[in-house]
């Protein structure tokens, strides 16, 4: 049981269990028995597979041609005297193209089993699903390869098979339209095979990342968002510099500082983390010290325990309290690490410029700050994030300004980045101003993207996640729930791609009868990635007393500005064979 998947309104354990069952069935098939002990796991790489005393070797791969070449090499260099059984499991589905490649390489017949492991959406938390498809945004917007959208649609079909048909589908953007079309088509294709399940989700909202290019560029200011921005969270884990986590044990004198990075799992199974992850970082300190008081008070209780019964009760709570204490220690250390950065002048200056752009200050001329940063050769991604942000907030830059930035970047970081710049232009993150007037201020005003009086400690609006800026994507979600998109038709037209609404027939007898006061459940699917701050904003909406809607979030990939820009970069040298 994964307890963190169980806590939300929708029990995502069902999805997890279904996925586990499929995997077990495949492993049964490989070993021919019910016992499948995984002896070792290796990362796929060329050459011969490291030796292990096993009978079966299962390749667990994404269907990509370059991986097939590696597998073929593995299989070909297998010891002929002690042959082992090979199996291949494609995630999330098998590919004729890949099998063809294996055939060309002459190894297709070496596999006892070739199958697919349909794992489109991976549950990350009680309200969060991700496809972990790194290059989804790049593929969709840069390379016109919509494979990940097909998987997304398939994933949504799986979800509907387990949680019932979703009666209402809303969407905004080209990709959203494409996914919705595929879903409706698949629904028709599998007519008659639908399961009789009471719908768990009332609404599905499909959002293209390119509808809101601004949000991921901004620096996230929630606790979790900052952890991701600074240390980057991968697969629910974060690696931290070890110095602050040195155990101060008596007698050891603390001579040996650990050198291995400290690896921590981050999800809502940890009570304290669940409490603070979505807070603005400025409110985390207070929360931590409050927690510290509660914990030490709890430990003090032992002095009050007089009777045997009371002592017994105290002891029974000890493990829980100790876990809480170590969790507190960890997060205090993380908060200190983050604070060192957020209080630096650099961080402050860059945040100021971001906020100026978002409020529309001087977005039409060259920013001296960016100029200075380039002159000092700050990290390229930081520069790209800022320039793109300026371009987005100005609905494109004047040709002169754009060319200036481009030349500055190319002269400083190398001409090879010309391809990266072209990529950014292609996806719309950078663009020359067209004759159309800048509509960003209208969008900002209509959707209230900038809130002057944001309360970071006790927020009353989603804008707290960026200390003033309310993420556009989440505003769209919020408006959809109440009062509805009809009220913002004009703005929707200014944003790229079509917006639409579809209804799916729910079998009679399965119409939900909502109790008065019962919340609606909406699944928001971010095609092209979502940031932790956006997730925090949606959780904030779920928990708002009168919101009336709870949100489950799905995405192709959890991203932040840095990982996102990185996925769009093109440095030809890295492609050297």
């Amino acid at each position: 049981m994964a307890s963190h998947l169980f806590c939300g309104r929708v029990n995502l354990n069902i999805l997890r269990e279904a996925a586990r069952k499929d995997l077990r069935e495949f492993l049964d098939k490989c070993s021919g028995s019910k016992e499948h002990e995984v002896e070792k796991m290796f990362t796929l790489k060329g050459g011969r597979i490291p030796s292990a005393a096993v009978k079966n070797i299962v390749f667990f791969v994404r269907p990509r041609l370059e991986l097939m070449d590696i597998i073929a090499e593995n299989v070909a260099s297998e010891d002929k005297l002690h042959p082992r059984d090979f199996h291949i499991l494609f995630v999330p589905r098998r590919s004729l193209l890949c099998e063809q490649r294996l055939k060309e390489k002459g190894v297709l017949n070496s596999f006892t089993n070739i199958d697919e492991y349909i794992l489109d959406l991976i549950p990350y938390d009680g309200d969060l699903l991700s496809m972990e498809s790194e290059s989804s945004f790049r593929e969709c917007y840069l390379e016109s390869d919509q494979t990940s959208l097909y998987h997304a649609a398939k994933g949504l079909m799986t979800l509907q098979a387990l949680y019932g048909t979703i009666p209402q589908i809303f969407g905004k953007g080209e990709c959203a339209r494409h996914v919705a079309n595929m879903m409706l088509r698949m629904k028709r294709e599998f007519a008659g095979s639908h399961t009789q399940i009471l719908p768990v989700f009332d609404t599905l909202l499909l959002l293209d990342r390119n509808v809101d290019l601004l949000t991921p560029l901004a620096t996230q200011l929630t606790y979790e968002g900052l952890i991701d921005e600074i240390f980057s969270i991968t697969n629910g884990y974060v690696k931290l510099p070890p110095e602050k986590f040195a155990q101060k044990k008596q007698g050891e004198g603390g001579k040996d500082l650990p050198t291995e990075p400290k690896k921590l799992q981050l999800n809502s199974a940890e009570e304290l983390y669940a409490e603070i992850r979505d807070k603005n970082f400025n409110a985390v300190g207070a929360a931590l010290s409050k927690k510290a008081k509660v914990i030490s008070a709890a430990f003090e209780e032992r002095h009050n325990a007089k009777t045997v019964g009371e002592i017994k009760q105290f002891v029974s709570q000890l493990p829980h309290m100790q876990a809480a204490r170590s969790s507190l220690a960890n997060h205090t250390s993380i908060a200190e690490l983050i604070k060192d950065i957020t209080t630096s002048e650099d961080f402050f200056d860059s945040l100021t410029v971001e906020q100026e752009f978002m409020t529309g200050v001087d977005t039409d001329k060259v920013s001296t700050y960016i100029e200075d940063c380039v002159a000092q050769k700050d990290p390229l991604i930081k520069i790209l994030r800022l320039v793109c942000m300026q371009s987005v907030c100005n609905n494109g830059l004047k040709q002169k300004v754009l060319d200036f930035y481009k030349r500055e970047i190319l002269q400083t970081y190398g001409y090879k980045h010309i391809l990266t710049l072209k990529n950014l232009e292609k996806v719309g993150l950078l663009k020359p101003q067209s004759t159309m007037r800048n509509n960003y201020p209208t969008i900002r005003k209509t959707l209230k993207l900038w809130m002057e009086d944001t309360n970071e400690q006790n927020p009353n609006d989603i804008s707290y996640v960026y200390s003033g800026y309310a993420p556009l994507s989440v505003r769209l979600t919020q408006v959809l729930a109440r009062p509805g998109w009809r009220s913002i038709e004009e703005v929707l037209k200014m944003l790229p791609g079509p917006h639409f609404e579809e209804r799916q027939q729910v079998p009679t007898g399965l119409h939900k009868k909502r109790q008065p006061g019962e919340n609606r459940t909406t699944l928001v699917f971010f095609l092209g990635g979502v940031t932790y701050a956006e997730i925090a904003a949606l959780r904030f909406l779920s928990n708002m007393e009168d919101s009336g809607t709870e949100y489950i979030i799905a995405t192709t990939k959890l991203i932040n500005g840095t990982s996102w820009i990185k996925s769009l970069m093109d440095s030809p040298e890295e492609n050297l064979p």
């Binding site: 004729l96 919509q146 494409h178 007519a191 100029e371 200075d372 001409y415 030809p572």
Partner: protein, 833 residues
Amino acid sequence: FVAYRGQTELLGPLRKIELYEMGWNLKDGLRECLVAAAPYGGPIALLKGHYRRSPSARPQLEIYSSSGLPLASFPWKSGVVKQLGWTVSDDLLCVQEDGTVLVYDLWGGFKRHFSMGNEVSQSQVLETKIFHSPYGTGVAILTGALRFTLATNIDDIKLRRLPEVPGLQEAPSCWAVLTQDRQSKVLVANGSQLFILDNTACTPVTPPGLSPQASSIVHMCVSFSYKYLALLTDSGHVWMGTSNLKEKLSEVDTKIKTPPKQMAWCRRPKSQQPSAVVMWDGLLIVVGECKETIQYHLDDDSVLVPELDGVRIISGTHHELLQEVPGACEEIFKIASMAPGALLLEAHKEYEKESQKADEYLREIKEQSLLSEAVRQCVEAAGHEHEPETQKTLLRAASFGKCFLSNFPPEQFVSMCRDLRVLNAVRDYTVGIPLTHTQFKQMTVQVLIDRLVYRKLYPLAIEVCRYLKTPEYQGVSRVLKHWACYKVQQKEESDEVIAKAVSVKLADAAGISYSEIATKAYESGRTELAIKLLEFEPRSGEQVPLLLKMKKSPLALSKAIESGDTDLVYTVVMYLKNELNRGDFFMMLRNQPVALSLYKQFCKHQEQDTLKDLFNQDDDHEELGNFYVKASYKDQRLEARVALLQSAVDEYYKAKNDFSAKTTEDEMRLLRFQRKLEEEKGEQLVGFSLHDTMTTLLSVGLHKHAEQLYKDFRVPDKRFWWLKLKALAEKEDWEELEKFGKTKKSPVGYLPFVEVCIKHHNKYEAKKYVSKVTPEQKVKAHLAVGDMEGAAEAAIERRNESEISTVLSRCSATTDHLLMERLNRAKATAVKK
């Protein structure tokens, strides 16, 4: 003796039910026929005149239903048939002398043939047996070389040659196939010796307690479930026991020493009593636990068909079922039975006569609290009866009894009524599937529907599905699909008529695979019809393979795109790539942008040259430029890189992208410059950015060259100043830095000078620049060099509250006491203002 009517005969613990009077008209009965009847009331195949062997008269192959209705008849034109048999999916297997096995459907249509291997065809087939196992239908062959060859599943043929039997000089007296431990084995008798042959070994075995008089085992049979074995010896004894030869159940002397024609087990599942049936000409003997045998006279040549719960006896005129009387029936119909079921039946009879005795009987059952048991018995017994009237009587009695019970679960009664209705329908003479209830439960509704479909009894199959409420997907839709597959093969009707008929019938059915139907149409040579049918297929992905097969590639491509499945698109694209010439291939892609961009992705990773051709075809100069730029980075040689960049420049100009063209020209210029300098000064430079090149030049003191780049590449002043500042500080060339600071007014101000010195821990140098800093940055500069007084002075002078606060925050209470007082005072006035 209460209820048995004319057609059921009781033979001790057995009963014989007449299933059908055969509808066929066989002049000579079954004499001289090779006969094969499928279990579960399946079809019967006859090869007439098989034993005559005159070259002039060909044998005739005839296929009938269990009730003797003709399904097919044709003269046999192939080789000598050794054995006929049926597969689990109602296909007829004809094993020929040369080891070829021909497969026909039950309508006599030839489906395919396969061989049992070279070894078999060389040494010829001596004997063969067709058997069923959990893996499907198998064929076992004894060759002329006295070796066994086995195929366990004819749908996935893996031939196995079994080990040799020691001392076997001529054909064994008898043998049988059995399935044990998930493996098919052969049990073979050579005289009195018995061997088990599996994949690897031939093991001699001895049946426990086999009577010693026997010098040879002349016949053997294995039960339907492979659990029991019966052996008949030349002394006329039948040994019965478990097939693993661990246990003997009984042994009976038949007192007949001539070899029998056939032997079979006749045993209900879960029954404790062993019983086997041995058949000679005109005589049938049932042997069981006791020494007594039941003898039964046969008028006519007959064939025994072993079933799960009995034996069917087919003769030239009749078709009967011999089985142990089911428990419930025995309890109820036994003379003077006081079983609750019997009493309930009696009570109901009295009730219908409106006699008060009904109450007495009921009371008797109720007093023993056996009423629910009585109802259960009646329902169960009804299931085992073949006569609808008897079934009804029993069910009415059960229903009557139910009235006096509260909370009696109705499921058993309801499902029995349903099952019986279906069974009676399929047992009907015109259908001819004489299934018992036990067999029906074992075979499942799914299989029954399949069998009805094989017999083309589509309306009945659909009715059964609807009646039993089988989910549409597995039921009605599947039947309709089969119907459509059959329909499209009817040559006499036009494409339009068939397509219309199919679409009308299948319109509302869920989950129909039109592509399967279309494939059938295509296979029977009706491409146009196939295309028409594919139009109805909602799953575009499913249409693709067939469209490719039919060489409708443009359509296949657009269907693949429609499905959204990019892998499928790739599949079609790769197929087209091999099928078409390059020009046509490119043309086709050009009309399908989705496919084109996918193919470009493929080429990007796999076929760079093709990618270039594609861009060329589209006159996409921008992409061509990018292509050359990328290529330039893959080449190590400078000349090649410059040449590729020149190509890029040309393309960018053609694309009217002046910025990219100029930038790339700059890049070439930089490369050449770096190369030249490398040669002249031996400094590693190639590949550095302009910025890094200048920094390197400055750090090695090549100021002139750095200046030259600064001018040539029109580097903004600000950036150059920053760069030079940092480079000099890095080198700790303070003298040069000071000189540089004085060349002209700094475009970046002087705070960077201060900071850069502090960064390199040179407070002395830093202080030199503090005075030059602009008033706005004065406080910062003073603080940077640690001059609190100066900072305070500047802040107070500027009367800037936040600056004063900044300074205050940096003061220490112990050393800067006076300063703090001053600052606080100034702050107060600044606020007031």
